[in-house]
């Protein structure tokens, strides 16, 4: 009988505590605190589960869900389970580890967190990126307004002009689409390039977008040789001096008696 009373009074205490917490969160009128409070409780729960207090952890999770639901008025689902695997080896028989198996917690619908990619960004844009010494990648988009201005569909076509800024040459590549991307062969490595997207219509050319400039890397060893480091800066070494120099950074001193920590790295 006594036990029942104790349990009942504990339950009342917990309920009162919950009500207090719900009131506190509601009074604050700060719904953002709710999620923070829930997250904190969940982290604490994970920690206590890992430190061998699974019953306490489970109770905490149940209460967290309840408080969450009461305050937000939304469905707050926290699923959990604990795995207990005792060590079977005799020398470790006393060790018990618990793990929190999973938690799901959602304050919004899953569909509100994901969606399709935008089809376009409705702007004129041309971007050039370097792939390797002989290839670049270009992608582009033409805005609705620009497409109307160019009167697409009346026999014209898009063109990509590739300018080699390093030697002032250019070449043209034709495209039928107003949105897309392509890989462009670069005539020369180690050069600066810029591209231009244009439109040909009845022999009239309109520039639509100009890209950023890019630098294609070299594909060979440089003909120039680096200046050697002045001799006085180098340390001509023998086997022993290198060993000593290397040891300078490698030796780990024995721990100081006063220092209760582990070995500390101190150069000699």
């Amino acid at each position: 009988m006594k036990t029942t009373n104790k349990t009942a009074s504990k339950k009342i205490d917990i309920l009162a505590e919950d009500q207090k917490e719900i009131r506190r969160l509601k009074e604050l009128d700060d719904i953002e605190l709710l999620k923070e409070a829930l997250s904190r409780l969940i982290y604490e729960t994970s920690e206590s589960a890992m430190t061998k207090k699974p019953v306490k952890a489970a109770k905490k999770l149940k209460r967290t869900a309840k408080i969450g639901r009461a305050v937000s008025g939304k469905k707050v689902k926290i699923s959990y389970s604990f795995t207990y695997v005792p060590y079977k080896k005799p020398e470790r028989a006393e060790t018990k580890l618990y793990a929190i198996n999973y938690i799901t917690l959602s304050l919004v619908k899953e569909s509100e967190l994901t969606g399709e990619l935008p089809l376009d960004y409705d702007e004129n844009r041309l971007v050039l990126q370097i792939l390797d010494p002989f290839t670049a990648h270009a992608y582009w988009e033409v805005s609705l307004q620009e497409r109307c201005r160019l009167r697409l569909g009346y026999g014209g076509h898009f063109v990509l002009r590739l300018h080699n800024i390093s030697d002032s040459t250019k070449e043209e590549i034709w495209f039928p689409e107003d949105i897309g991307n392509c890989f462009v062969a670069l005539p020369k490595p180690a050069s600066i390039y810029r591209a231009e997207l244009g439109y040909y219509s009845s022999k009239r050319y309109s520039c639509v977008a100009i890209s950023n400039s890019v630098y294609s890397p070299t594909d060979k060893v440089s003909e120039k040789t680096a200046e050697p480091v002045p001799e006085d800066r180098d340390q001509p070494v023998t086997k022993d001096s290198v060993r000593a120099a290397t040891k300078y950074t490698l030796i780990i001193q024995e721990p100081d008696e006063k220092d209760s920590g582990s070995e500390n790295f101190k150069p000699l």
Binding site: I103, T104, K239
Partner: protein
């Protein structure tokens, strides 16, 4: 002048894209992290601990990318990992019982069981926070942990947006300080991708060195005299270290490299695919899709999965010792040969994907243990060191500008920009451009608006991650990569419109904040115009 000693600088690059889905019970892509922890990160911590216990004073450079660091520091993911390793322990116990009449298999099942118990106890020892372990080994002088672009963005394809490049580097440094309580000395540029002028951004953010692929140095202008055997000063005071091709081939190559030895464990044949669904059901995906469990009983023999022979753990361990001997012998010879023509000690920089050791190459951590130990104890010409150690000895280097390059196939950008993934760039660039504008227009924002702007910055950074384009190129989990692109573009655009319209939905924002919770210390102002 003849030199007869040099530095071998192993560099491990640990990276996984930020994958965290509190909304799903069992997200398959989250297992990338759990598998990497079980097979690579904890086995490496174990190697470091064993070497340190034996008083072997090794030096090693380790990149922990900010996205990985954020996952390793996340309570939810670490809680789920504990559940994952518990299940593995459970499965391994069942395997010991199941194989009790199959002598060779039973021995292996016992090895797996002990291994998983050990992994769990290491995880527990570091208080479920593996960053504590890595920080400990850095503070003790064994590791030099460096940073990487905030969300592993492939910077040459963001080069049109200087502010975004600056933000990737700035956020990386801030996040590093948050996790490791010191400033990073160097950086691993995602995919080793460099373009001319990037070193200036690094200098502004207090970084003193980075790495490029071999041709980044050999094609530098002007041509450096020491090729990849010494760093070059880019002219900005930042140094570029070149990747050594020989050490790369010995470990990376699937045909001539060590991991292809037929005595090593096969990666592809796993009991998750071999055993009855009734038995293996609780340990694969909840939907019933078969997955790797990590328990594999066969070795690399023959190309046909069904013909593979049973794995012999002791022979494989013997092999790691032989391969380590061969590797160290090769370094000794290489350093002795190269040093003859140099006025300084050479440095051999060997970067590897960290997940190669343990995940792809099961015996990799043991090989690394043997190599590091052998060099420290018996190295005649070879010393272990980090780029910082080398720069501590040689403060000046030849001045040259590295060539634009990456360590991807063909050496430039074709892995991250090709017919399969080119469609993402208009969206990535537009979101980036909008973010820069937002940072400028709402620089003084506070309260809810500031929270929305910070979340917009997180979304755009997650969108910039090079991993999505990589997955599309390699055609692995393309559906997932496409979804991530769509989600981040959608969330960013919604935030963009809400911010411009001045009506941010708190509940919606809170939900997005709790899902894409990378970089708690984010300040959107890092995107401001320069």
């Amino acid at each position: 002048m003849i030199n007869d000693a040099g530095i071998w600088a192993p560099v491990l690059h640990a990276h996984l894209p930020f994958v965290r889905h509190p909304e799903y019970v069992d997200m398959m892509e989250e297992r990338w992290l759990y598998e990497a922890i079980t097979e690579t990160y904890i086995p490496l911590i174990d190697v470091f601990q064993r070497l340190s216990d034996e008083n072997i004073k090794f030096r090693l450079t380790l990149t922990i990318t900010p996205s990985l660091a954020n996952m390793l520091a996340d309570s939810l993911l670490m809680g789920r990992y504990l559940s994952y390793i518990n299940r593995l322990v459970d499965l391994a116990e069942n395997e010991v019982l199941r194989t009790k009449d199959l002598a060779k298999f039973e021995l292996l099942a016992r090895i797996y069981r002990d291994k998983f118990y050990k992994i769990r106890s290491i995880f527990e020892k570091w208080n479920f926070r593996l960053l504590n372990a890595f920080r400990h080994f850095q503070d003790s002088g064994y590791l030099e942990i460096i940073t990487c672009c905030a969300t592993h963005a492939f910077l040459p394809l963001l080069a049109n947006f200087k502010e975004a490049v600056e933000a990737q580097i700035k956020m990386a440094v801030i996040d590093y300080e948050h996790h490791f309580r010191c400033v990073p000395k160097g950086i691993w540029l995602a995919e080793c991708a460099y373009y001319e002028g990037l070193d200036e951004v690094l200098r502004r953010n207090g970084l003193s060195y980075f790495f490029v692929d071999t041709h980044g140095i050999t094609h530098a202008n002007p041509r450096p005299g020491y090729a990849t055997y010494a760093p070059i000063d880019c002219g900005s005071g930042v140094f570029a270290f070149g990747r050594d091709p020989e050490t790369g081939r010995q470990v990376w190559s699937s045909e001539v490299g060590y991991p292809g030895d037929p005595n090593y464990r096969d990666f592809y044949r796993d009991i998750g695919f071999d055993l009855d669904k009734e038995y293996i059901g609780p340990y694969i995906h909840e939907s019933g899709i078969r997955l790797n469990t990590g328990i594999k009983y066969h070795r690399i023999t023959g190309k046909n999965i069904a013909d593979k022979e049973v794995y012999d753990y002791s022979i494989a361990m013997q092999k790691t010792w032989e391969h380590a001997n061969h590797f160290v012998f090769s370094r000794e010879r290489q350093i002795a040969a190269v040093g003859v023509n140099m006025r300084r000690s050479p440095i051999i920089v060997s970067p590897y994907d960290c997940e190669l050791f343990g995940h792809w190459w099961f015996e990799g951590p043991e090989f690394l243990y043997n190599v590091l130990k052998k060099i420290v104890l018996e190295g005649q010409y070879t010393r272990l060191g980090t780029p910082s150690d080398y720069l501590g000895i040689y403060k000046h280097s030849e001045k040259a500008v590295p060539c634009m390059s990456s360590w991807g196939e063909e050496g430039y950008c074709s892995v991250w920009l090709n017919e399969k993934n080119a469609w993402i760039y208009p969206h990535v660039h537009k979101a980036t451009e909008r973010m820069i504008k937002l940072a400028d227009d709402f620089f003084e924002a506070t309260g809810l608006m500031q929270r929305a702007l910070n979340q917009a910055a997180r979304e755009v950074m997650l969108l910039q991650s090079s991993d999505w384009a990589f997955i599309m190129k390699t055609e692995t989990t393309v559906g997932y990569a496409k979804k991530r692109i769509k989600d981040h573009v959608f969330r960013f655009n919604k935030l963009y419109e809400s911010i411009l319209g001045g009506d941010v939905n708190v509940l919606w924002l809170s939900e997005v904040e709790s899902r894409d919770n990378i970089f708690p210390e984010m300040d959107f102002r890092i995107f401001k115009k320069q």
